[in-house]
């Protein structure tokens, strides 16, 4: 039986589009039909833009005929509903933005549109990206395609589930404390969080501005490299997007050039993204603090198996130490909530979004925000407001920012000894829906292995590396130094080629 079009990665679909074996309209219609048939049980999408996607697919078809296509022309993508899309509702998984139709495109959306990609719609997420399970969505939880009574991870759970269930070809998510890597791990797909500043945040609705970063969730590693190459690069509209004029420029330039070099010119003979380089001699650090108490034995076994695979490919394993790891969650839940409390001050019922009634302006604000925000968002706004309030700033925000510096120093010292690090993504496979909902702190602790990368600003990728006895995917996390994406992708690709976990698909036949 021929493989359905929906299950093809970008790297396998693009050459067929280039040769005219299949048309963008055909692919888009096929996936839209699959969404209509299957998303009822997954709930990956908040908004499906059927008419928009079909119009974009027709444009892509014309562009392919004109010979002006890129490898993304006609590729159906799902966008996490936290990136604004001109004319297409953007909710952030929140009641407060339920009817918000942005008047402009995020820079990443603009770049993907310019490349000819097709936007199928907007996918589910924890409200304002605050959560690890996609249960904090005003539009209902997303279900893990591998076991529907389990969470898909979060906050980019809609992205990960849509990619795993073949409800899109690839997706963009955002990662503030693990929100790309953790759902990718729980759904058995590839998820890349780039170096802070590599991808523009313009049009990414802000949660914690010094931690947020957009990145791809894909069916295979080459697709992540391809999408990154299209969305990376300085944007004058985001003052925190890295400007090579100022320090560390050579690593950045090398990375951008490296990404370009691995994508040959597109046309009927397109050979695909080339990450095919040996990893022999690559020094892979194994941080000892990431193993031990609290790590599920099945995850431990899968990661140790993955380390052996990397060693078998010629990588040199060495133990490293990140001594401040145990403080990362605490530092994160001060820094992130403090930034969130000021970022979310803008939702006041005046310029856009929900408005509730009130006797006066103050009451209108308070009622709007009480009705518009879910419990987790309110909890984090409260925590952040408290941490920044008079008399507490030094004890909380300043202290956490100092610990953040110590965490970054840990990574700098470790990367002086190794090229990248290999760790688990999450201490356990996906947990059951509802299991941790009543206890926010336990939920926060599940982010222990992903949060440090955001605090330090370094890149990380999750690649499938095993399955639990219950059939839930397990991911391997590779972490690199700032602008070390090329090495990460190369190692992840070598690992992927040596294993077949990424080829398995969840069964959605019923």
């Amino acid at each position: 039986m021929a493989e359905p079009l929906s299950s093809l990665s970008i790297s396998r679909l693009a050459p067929r589009l280039a040769r005219g074996e299949v048309s963008p309209v055909e692919v888009t219609d096929h996936i839209l039909e699959r969404i209509a048939a299957k998303d009822g049980v997954i709930n990956a999408y908040i908004t499906v833009d059927e008419a928009g996607a079909q119009a974009q697919a027709r444009e892509a078809e014309a562009r392919l005929r004109r010979g002006q296509a890129t490898p993304l022309t006609g590729i159906p993508l799902a966008l996490k509903d936290v990136m604004v899309t001109q004319g297409l509702r953007t909710t952030c998984g929140s009641r407060i933005l339920e009817n918000f139709v942005p008047p402009f495109d995020a820079t990443v959306c603009e770049r993907l549109r310019a490349a000819g990609a097709v936007f199928l719609g907007k996918v589910n997420m924890d409200e304002f990206a605050m959560g690890s399970s996609t249960e904090n969505s005003a539009f209902g939880p997303t279900h893990n395609p591998w076991r529907r009574d389990c969470i898909p991870g979060g906050s980019s759970g809609g992205s990960a589930a849509a990619v795993a269930a073949d409800l899109c070809t690839a997706s963009l998510g955002s990662d503030t404390g693990g929100s790309i890597r953790q759902p990718a791990s729980h759904c058995g797909v590839v998820g890349l969080k780039p170096t802070y500043g590599l991808v523009s945040r313009y049009g990414l609705v802000a949660y914690a501005s010094s931690l947020d970063q957009i990145g791809p969730l894909t069916k295979e590693v080459r697709d992540a490299a391809l999408l990154l190459a299209f969305i990376a690069g300085h944007d004058p509209k985001d003052s925190t997007s890295f400007n090579p004029g100022a320090g560390n420029g050579s690593n950045y330039q090398k990375l951008l050039q490296g990404l370009k070099d691995c994508i040959p010119e597109y046309g009927p003979q397109w050979p695909g993204v080339n990450l095919d380089r040996e990893i022999k001699g690559l020094k892979v650090g194994v941080p000892r603090e990431y193993f031990g108490e609290g790590l599920d034995p099945e995850v431990d076994a899968a990661i140790r198996g993955a380390l052996q695979t990397l060693a078998g490919l010629g990588a040199e394993l060495l133990e490293v130490s990140l001594p401040h790891t145990e403080y990362a969650v605490a530092a994160y839940y001060v820094v992130a909530v403090a930034e969130a409390s000021s970022n979310l001050a803008r939702y006041d019922g005046v310029k856009y979004g929900l408005r509730a009634e009130g006797q006066n302006l103050l009451e209108m604000y308070a009622n709007t925000r009480a009705q518009g925000f879910g419990a987790e968002v309110r909890r984090r706004i409260m925590l952040g407001t408290y941490a920044l309030s008079a008399g507490y700033y030094d004890a909380y925000y300043k202290k956490a920012s100092q610990v953040r510096a110590l965490i970054r120093r840990d990574f700098d010292a470790a990367f002086a000894r190794c090229d990248l690090m290999a760790t688990p993504v999450s201490p356990t496979p996906a947990f059951r829906l509802g299991e941790k909902l009543a206890d926010p702190l336990t939920m926060y602790l599940s982010d222990i292995f992903t949060i440090s990368a955001n605090l330090a600003g370094i890149p990380g990728i999750s690649v499938p590396c095993g399955f639990s006895a219950l059939g839930l995917p397990i991911g391997l996390q590779l972490l690199g130094p700032p602008f070390g994406e090329a090495t990460l992708l190369r190692a992840a690709y070598a690992f992927e080629q040596a294993t077949d976990f990424h080829r398995r698909k969840p069964d959605l036949s019923d």
Binding site: Y327, V350, R408
Partner: protein, 94 residues
């Protein structure tokens, strides 16, 4: 430093959040749990560590002041819950 019910109400006021009676109780408990966990940061001696607010060196981004098209007034008002005569409409303030 345990948060009292009064402090929770004060913070809710600062954050412009209306809280129901049950929520006050729940949030007081949950916020205290989280703050107790965060307390472990105090174990670390950070006396000489400069706080890190940003992972990359941040520089002022200067540019020429050029006139460009912005959002039209209508487009800017399109998402407003209430508008009147080209302005955002809010409850009476004075």
């Amino acid at each position: 430093m345990a948060l009292t019910r009064e402090e929770v109400l004060h913070v809710a006021h600062l954050a412009r959040l209306a809280l129901g009676p049950q929520e006050i109780e729940l949030f007081t408990r949950q916020l205290n749990d989280i703050l107790a966990y965060v307390e472990q940061l105090q174990e670390l001696d950070t006396g000489e560590v400069a706080p890190m607010a940003h992972v990359l060196p941040v520089y002022n981004a200067f540019r020429e002041d050029v006139v460009k098209d912005g959002l039209s007034r209508d487009l800017a008002l399109d998402n407003a819950p209430a508008r009147e005569e080209g302005s955002f409409l809010v409850p009476r303030v004075i």
